[in-house]
């Protein structure tokens, strides 16, 4: 079985054994470290596991997470993040392509299903390209914002009202932006004959590529 997946599963199981206070403390460290997706996943998960094991033994000795990791979880987590090695560039690239194929695959398949109902056998070439580029750019931007928020909010007890409003605005804003782009660019460029079925095939092929890449990636750990 895949090592990283196994460590994460073990982590999920063991975390439940912690006292409520200790788990709350450890969860903050965990969210913060995992939100740094450019760092080596294997090393990140291994050190989280070591820390969790350590905390579990310390608990039996009557110590708390504050005794073990110090009173300032953010400062401690920053020490960990600073010391972790970066993920290899190659792995980041292939991981990016994998996510890209997955995202585009679903988008193309949903479009194909839509065209099955509208019975159209033609697409506007430029519109189609613009749609896919917009999807990737907005999807990537949104993912980046979510990770930033996770890093920033990991050590706050409660999400502030302003952060919730901001998240809501960003969410509806990006959705509106995407819909706007689809709406205003719907008839650009030459018409190309592609049946809904061929489009479904293309989308499925992308999903298959993404799936195979994922299988290969997790096998190499």
């Amino acid at each position: 079985m895949v090592i990283v997946k196994k460590i994460i599963a073990e982590n999920n199981k063991k975390r439940k054994l912690l006292t409520k206070e200790n788990q709350a403390y450890f969860d903050k460290l965990l969210v913060y470290v995992r939100a740094h997706v450019l760092l080596s996943e294997r090393q990140s998960e291994e050190v989280l596991m070591e820390m969790l094991d350590h905390l579990l033994i310390a608990e039996e000795e009557g110590k708390t997470a504050v005794d073990v990791f110090g009173p300032n979880p953010k400062a401690y987590a920053d020490d960990i993040v600073d010391a972790l090695p970066k993920e290899k560039k190659g792995s980041l690239m292939t991981f990016g392509v994998e996510i890209l194929c997955d995202l585009m695959g679903w988008f193309i398949i949903i479009g194909a299903v839509g065209r099955y109902f509208t019975k159209s056998d033609q697409i506007y070439l430029y519109s189609a390209i613009i749609n896919v580029v917009a999807l990737v750019a907005i999807g990537g931007g949104l993912l980046y914002l979510i990770l930033q928020q996770l890093k920033k909010g990991a050590f706050e007890e409660k999400m502030s009202t302003s952060a919730i409003i901001k998240a809501g605005l960003v969410g509806t804003g990006t959705f509106g932006l995407f819909m706007g782009i689809l709406y205003f660019t719907d008839k650009l460029g030459p018409l190309v004959n592609i049946t809904w079925f061929a489009q479904l095939g293309a989308g499925s092929a992308l999903l298959l590529i993404s799936y195979l890449m994922k299988r290969d990636r997790t096998k190499r750990y």
């Binding site: 073990e10 291994e46 972790l84």
Partner: protein
């Protein structure tokens, strides 16, 4: 930060290397060893950033494997570069502690 922990900060890497040189250990064991020799005020969690940094610099290597009591643990051992680094730290430290010792005795 107490004076003691400020002083320790610079030499903690050396202390960790010295423990690992004697035997292959995992994180919790390492912190216990540091405590038993008298470095009790090193907060236990401090060793994990140190271990990560030493791994990144190729001075130690860690390996996950099942422990005697069952669960997987990450065991650390020195690399060749780690041995050399420890030798350097050791001779530097002995020189410093000798000199500082003379001064501090007054």
């Amino acid at each position: 930060m107490s004076i003691r922990s400020q002083l320790l900060k610079g030499i903690l890497d050396g202390c960790v290397l010295a423990v690992i040189e004697k035997e292959v250990v995992y994180g919790y064991e390492l912190s216990k060893k540091l405590q038993t020799v008298g470095l009790a005020d090193v907060s236990e969690g401090t060793i994990y950033p140190v271990l990560l940094r030493l791994q990144k610099n190729n001075l130690i290597k860690g390996e996950m494997r099942p422990s005697e009591s069952g669960p997987n643990r990450k065991y650390y051992q020195l690399t060749q570069a780690g041995k050399e680094a420890l030798d350097d730290i050791r001779s530097e430290w002995l020189g410093i502690s000798d000199a500082v010792g003379k001064l501090m005795k007054g």
